[in-house]
Structures are given as C-alpha cells and as structure tokens.
C-alpha cells in the first residue's frame, strides 16, 4: 500500500529543493562571520579600540609591567621590518600557563599583527618576529593566561618610513 500520493510527493520535493537552495546560498554569502575570527583572510580595517573589543570583549586588562616585556627599537627607520620581542615571565605549568600572546599596533589600518598560542610544552613564553608598521605608533603586547586573565604592555615606536602600502 503506497501512502504517499503523487501530489504530496511533488510538494515535498519542491519544499526540499527550496530549503537546500537557501542553505547553499547562505554558505557562499560574502562577508560571512567566519572571516572575523581567522587571520587567514585579510583583516578588517578598523580602529584599535574595535580590535581590542573584538578580541577581548569587555574583559579587564591588567598592566603587565615587570611580568610582560616588550622589546622594540625606539626609532625604526624602515617600517616594513621592525623587530619585536615579547617575553612573558610567567611559569609554564600544566595548571597555569600563558595561552596566547597578541601583538597589536595601534595606528596600523589593520591593528592585529599576530597571535601566538602556547602550550606548557614550550617551557617558556616568548616570541620574536618582525612587524610592518605604517607610521609612528604604540605597539601593545597582550598576554592571555589559560584562566582568561589578561596582561598588557605598550610602548611607542617612531617610524621614519612607513612599511604598509595598503
């Protein structure tokens, strides 16, 4: 005994096609939210306050003086290659460790430079790399502990020739 008539079958078929088509277009919609969290796409152009809000929300950030060190030249002649070292002097044990180090430069069009995620196996938490700075700017380093505590240090770098064409 066939319970489904032809009319019901056709109706369901149409319904199915419409819902899957909607899901399909939704997936390929430009500017979907996945672009926001990953650094794999070009970062949004925004003010540094917007970046801080996007990354840390309304969480309080403690001053990291003495614990978190940010080493950079006072004057960078070439903004396209500015060495930076961030050193977080916290113990790295399985129960308490530095989870993330963020490097953010205030006056860049896209302030987030990089994020590094550590595990206790690293033994220590420091990172050195080189940045592109568009103009004279404050550079911030933010360390996030595994319990969510945030520490920040900030210092100014004078840039003679900017290093960002974009």
């Amino acid at each position: 005994m066939i319970s489904m008539t032809r009319r019901v079958f056709v109706k369901r078929l149409i319904g199915f096609c419409l819902t899957s088509a909607a899901a399909f277009t939704d997936f390929f919609r430009p500017g979907a939210s996945r672009a926001q969290t990953s650094t794999g796409s070009v970062q949004p152009e925004e003010k540094v306050e917007a970046t801080m809000k996007r990354l840390f929300g309304a969480r309080t950030i403690a001053p990291g003086d003495g614990k978190l060190k940010l080493e950079m030249p006072m004057i960078a002649e070439d903004g396209s290659n500015v060495p930076v070292t961030v050193q977080a002097e916290f113990p790295m044990t399985a129960s308490r460790y530095v989870k993330n180090i963020y490097i953010i430069s205030d006056n860049n069009r896209r302030p987030l430079n990089a994020r590094f995620s550590f595990t206790p196996e690293a033994g220590k938490a420091y990172i050195a790399t080189s940045l592109r700075l568009g103009m004279t700017t404050d550079v911030r380093a933010v360390a996030e502990m595994n319990d969510g505590t945030l520490y920040m240090v900030k210092r100014e770098v004078k840039v003679t020739v900017g290093g960002c064409g974009g």
């Binding site: 550590f118 033994g123 938490a125 050195a128 974009g166």
Partner: protein, 109 residues
C-alpha cells in the same frame, strides 16, 4: 622567487636534556600587502600571505602562530621549546593560496 617556501630552522649547537632552547626559523615568502587603486579603494583579490605557523615536537603541537599581512616579508620567528627528550621538530607554514611549507630538524643530545 623560486625559493618561496624554503623553511630554515636554527637550533643551539649543543642541547642539554630538559633545557628550554631557543629555536629560530625563517621562511622565504612575499607576504603580499593589500593594494589600492587610484581612488584609494582596496583591490579585491586573494592576497598571498602566511596565516598560520604550526610547531610540532614529536608530532604534538606545541606552538601555533596566526600571522597577518602586518608581519614582514620573509618572516622570521624565535620561540622556546622544552627539549626534554630527543625527537623531531617540525615547523609548518600555511599560506592563503593553500600551499604548505615544511621544515624539520632533529633534536638530539
């Protein structure tokens, strides 16, 4: 340009067991920056830059870096690694064209 993706790794010449060593790495990559047209509008295209660095020791991920275009061309990184046992250190870089660049170094005492 033929060298794009060459990963160089530098370790201290002698390593004591349990020591936290300083690892230096460098990858040859253009890290393209966004271009603008005459009106100052950003040209939409797939810019080629490294977005992820994965450091693994004996197959276990110990450090992951997420980089943007505001990291210099031919980026270099220095980071710590606890060398508590001998093994293989691998560093993988992923860029926005879907390419994968790998470098490996043995840690021995």
């Amino acid at each position: 340009m033929a060298e794009i993706g060459r990963v160089r790794i530098r370790l201290p010449s002698s390593i004591q067991p349990g020591e936290v060593v300083r690892v230096r790495t460098l990858v040859i990559h253009p890290m393209e920056i966004t271009e603008r047209d005459k009106e100052g509008k950003v040209i939409t295209k797939n810019y080629n830059f490294i977005h992820t660095m994965i450091v693994a020791f004996n197959g276990k991920e110990v450090l992951r870096g997420e980089t943007t275009q505001s990291v210099s061309e031919n980026p270099s990184f220095t980071f710590p690694l606890k060398a508590d046992r001998p093994g293989k250190l691998t560093i993988t870089f992923l860029d926005t064209t879907g390419k994968k660049y790998e470098g490996a170094e043995e840690i021995k005492f």
